[in-house]
């Protein structure tokens, strides 16, 4: 009888760095969503906006494929 492998579908993961991370925007993203994922706080979106003012003119307009700098937490 073969042994069943455990279910790992509910494993949570994450990453962070002391260096600036580069994040590629995907469909459905917003700066708040990215901030929540990267920093654990949605209202940290301003940090991302400020770090990317060279490419972002409006914080509500980000596009799939854009590469955003995510400053270290």
């Amino acid at each position: 009888m073969s042994e069943e492998m455990p279910d790992f579908s509910n494993v949570n993961g994450g990453s962070s760095s002391t260096a600036t991370k580069i994040y590629v925007v995907v469909s459905g993203d917003s700066l708040s969503k990215i901030a929540k994922r990267e920093y654990g706080e949605a209202n940290e979106w301003k940090r991302i906006y400020e770090a990317n003012q060279d490419i972002l003119k409006d914080p509500d307009k980000i596009y799939p494929g854009q590469k955003l700098k995510i400053p270290p937490k």
């Binding site: 494993v11 994450g14 962070s16 002391t18 260096a19 600036t20 700098k69």
Partner: protein, 155 residues
């Protein structure tokens, strides 16, 4: 006269046969005098992984504060990856569970970093209902190439 001609022909034939039977000596190729060896080009600037450490917790500097390879069911597993150099690179962490000869991928994560010097990067995994006991491994890749791994156990 005929004898002389016949003799000449025989000598010529003998000389031709002797020449045909002679082995050709391999040509010796003399290597040219070594030129001055140019100094190796400096390594291109880039990011390299200098160490991989596993543990149960990390500090604000992303370094593991309690290094271990043995975890309990409810622990979060961290792997801290120190890098040197500058530039942009992709780091991947693949968490694996092994049971006998079977392997299951627990989680895969990646991040792209833009470092201006030495940096510390961390990946972590947790499981709300607890880790099954057994053998685990985390493999770290840098730009798609193996850069280190750690064997872990959950008891």
């Amino acid at each position: 006269m005929k004898t002389r001609i016949l003799f000449t022909l025989l000598v010529s034939a003998a000389l031709t046969l002797a020449a045909c039977g002679k082995k050709e000596e391999p040509k010796t190729v003399t290597a040219p005098a070594p030129a001055t060896v140019p100094a190796p080009a400096p390594a291109p600037a880039g990011i390299a992984v200098s160490s991989v450490t596993a543990g149960k917790a990390i500090g604000a500097d992303k370094k593991v504060t309690a290094a271990t390879d043995a975890f309990a069911k409810g622990d979060t597993m961290y792997v801290s990856v120190d890098t040197t150099g500058s530039g942009t690179a992709k780091l991947d962490a693949k968490w694996i569970y092994r049971k006998g000869d079977k392997v299951a991928v627990v989680k895969e994560d990646s991040m792209t970093i833009n470092a201006t010097g030495p940096a510390t990067n961390e990946f972590h995994v947790s499981k709300p209902d607890g880790w099954p006991a057994g053998d685990y491994e985390v493999e770290v890749m840098l730009d798609g190439k193996p850069a280190g791994s750690k064997k872990l156990t959950v008891k």
